[in-house]
Symmetry: C2
């Protein structure tokens, strides 16, 4: 069936050791002539070495496990793509797994990855659980955490997003545009994102010497409907607001819909900021200004971190002192072509 190193060696009249060296470019000590002879035979038979056999002796598979809740959730493809790009660059392959945020499933995948001798694991850990599954604790390979923070001895790196800073940027941007009474239509407070963004919102107000008014902060769901409802509530309660910082893009879309329905112009009358910069937002509300999550970067950086770790000797993997955390910043995407008339004077 498939041709092996043995056949190549025989055909080229050299030992398999020589073939191996030529193929792996460890051939400083091989004559030009021999090398070429080998290379020719390799080409002639389209010989592709069996990496698994090699892995068995090198103890490196160049396989990385990427454990995500669900690739179908628009949040994750960017991460996957980033990780895959970096992996490819460095000669790694990525096995991906969908856990649906279920701990048993996650455990099963970790075990499968362990069996298949993955060199490392990048994981967006299930938020639902308070404790790291035992199997991860026991896991012998380097683990990089993404997006969701978590403390554990066995983690060798983290790549997180600065939600608080993102919110701070968003609110500061609104202030810069001249808005002063900024409402926050948040997602559910029990989510870490909502909480962190609330912190950023408060800090931005503080930094700009704007009084925090809790009546302007409302908690709902990360859905379009909540954006509509939230705006309705604000209007009904006759709150005095001139801008809305929305917990995510869906809320922003809902808010804009409702505002437009009531006859407000955006951003002239009322400013609106989204968060997450999902594809949909730019299609539905082409003028929506949003905070973009660095998803691609997150995946890319995670893989980068992992690769650096893997360059080291297997022994020194999980020294806790070696833990590295990267916190990525978000970015403001301004799409408003219309100028607000609330611009502050320079």
């Amino acid at each position: 069936m498939k041709i092996t190193i043995k056949e190549i060696a025989k055909e080229a009249n050299v030992s398999i050791a020589t073939v191996s060296m030529v193929i792996n470019k460890k051939d400083q000590n091989i004559t030009e002539v021999t090398r070429n002879r080998v290379l020719e035979v390799v080409k002639k038979y389209n010989y592709i070495p069996n990496a698994m056999a090699g892995s068995l002796v090198t103890q490196r598979t160049h396989i990385i496990g990427l454990v995500l809740p669900d690739i179908t959730n628009p949040f994750f493809p960017g991460i996957a793509r980033g990780a895959e790009d970096k992996a490819n660059e460095k000669g790694y392959s990525i096995i991906f797994c969908n856990t649906d945020d279920k701990l048993e499933v996650q455990e099963k995948y970790i075990e499968s990855l362990t069996k298949k001798m993955a060199d490392g694991i990048i994981i967006a850990h299930s938020s639902s659980s308070e404790k790291m599954p035992e199997i991860l604790e026991r896991c012998k390979v380097p683990i990089i955490l993404i997006d969701r923070d978590f403390d554990s001895e066995s983690i060798c790196g983290k790549v997180l997003v600065n939600n608080s800073k993102g919110a701070h940027m968003a609110v500061s941007y609104l202030v810069e545009q001249g808005y002063k009474k900024i409402s926050y239509l948040s997602g559910p407070l029990k989510t870490r994102t909502a909480y962190e963004r609330l912190e950023g919102y408060k800090k931005a107000l503080w930094d700009n010497e704007i009084q925090f008014d809790e009546k302007l902060v409302k908690f709902g769901e990360y859905k379009i409907e909540w954006g509509q409802k939230g705006v309705k509530e604000l209007l009904e309660e006759q709150e005095d607001f001139d801008a809305i910082f929305c917990g995510n893009d869906l809320i922003a879309i809902g808010a804009m819909k409702e505002l437009k329905k009531k006859g407000y112009r955006i951003p002239e009358d009322i400013g609106v900021m989204g968060y997450d910069d999902i594809y949909i937002a730019s299609l539905v509300e082409p003028s929506l200004t949003t905070v973009r999550q660095p998803n691609y970067q997150m995946g890319y950086k995670a893989m980068e971190l992992l690769e650096e770790r893997l360059k080291k000797a297997p022994g020194s993997y999980n020294a806790p002192s070696e833990m590295k955390t990267i916190t990525l910043d978000t970015e403001i995407i301004v799409r408003n072509s219309v100028k607000t008339n609330k611009k502050v004077k320079p």
Copy 2:
């Protein structure tokens, strides 16, 4: 470092052959006592066998390559998820690759998968190329094609979508609702999808004894802007139409936007059908009726096909006679809560 079968065997006072048999459940011939002794030691040391070592002798890695243009394109996560679910069910892992529709990249990935001894490959082949890359032709493992058709000896299965039938269903649905002058706002005709959907559109008209009118068919891009522009054109040209079948959801969104702007009510005055059923559509136009692509099914079925093939002996893989094609049907997703007043009488 990691414990091996040798240690387990020694600790349990049996040979490694026995341990292997117990672990792989080929233990019909092993005494209850021996088995338990082995199992105990396995548990004690949390022994997880090295699958790669096994693969070397069984010639099966239980790794499948999934080659896609770009996981970031909303069309693909569903496919990936479907494939992964089935793979997981059957004990396979999936390595995923993004080719960006570039042939060189695709070749590189195929080679990498070959090196890593993937048992099979599921591929959405780059549309840009006319010929199958040589490396795929040479590829020794079973290959399943998804979404994009292509002829090649080395293909052992295909999972495609019946675009023509999908369009037929969509147009028939509109007819059923009482609409009679149905326009088709298509994507670019050079794409296979646009062409096939056009065929379905024509056939549906024919089957319902409606005269085909080429002035009602317009080709543009798969974008919101084209939906708006297309409607504008139809109105300006004073075409007589009472429904629009749109080439995809984005076009449908644009069309609905424009129609509403001009004061038409949907679906009372004018019916609109989308195609693809992307997430965005249901958010933006909650009442839009669409044709749903069976993406998840496509991935799932592809993996199923592959797994069946892999159960057979390695020798019989690529017999062309064994080629199986699965054509999946689309599904109409009706979201209109409002009833059209054009309903045909029963």
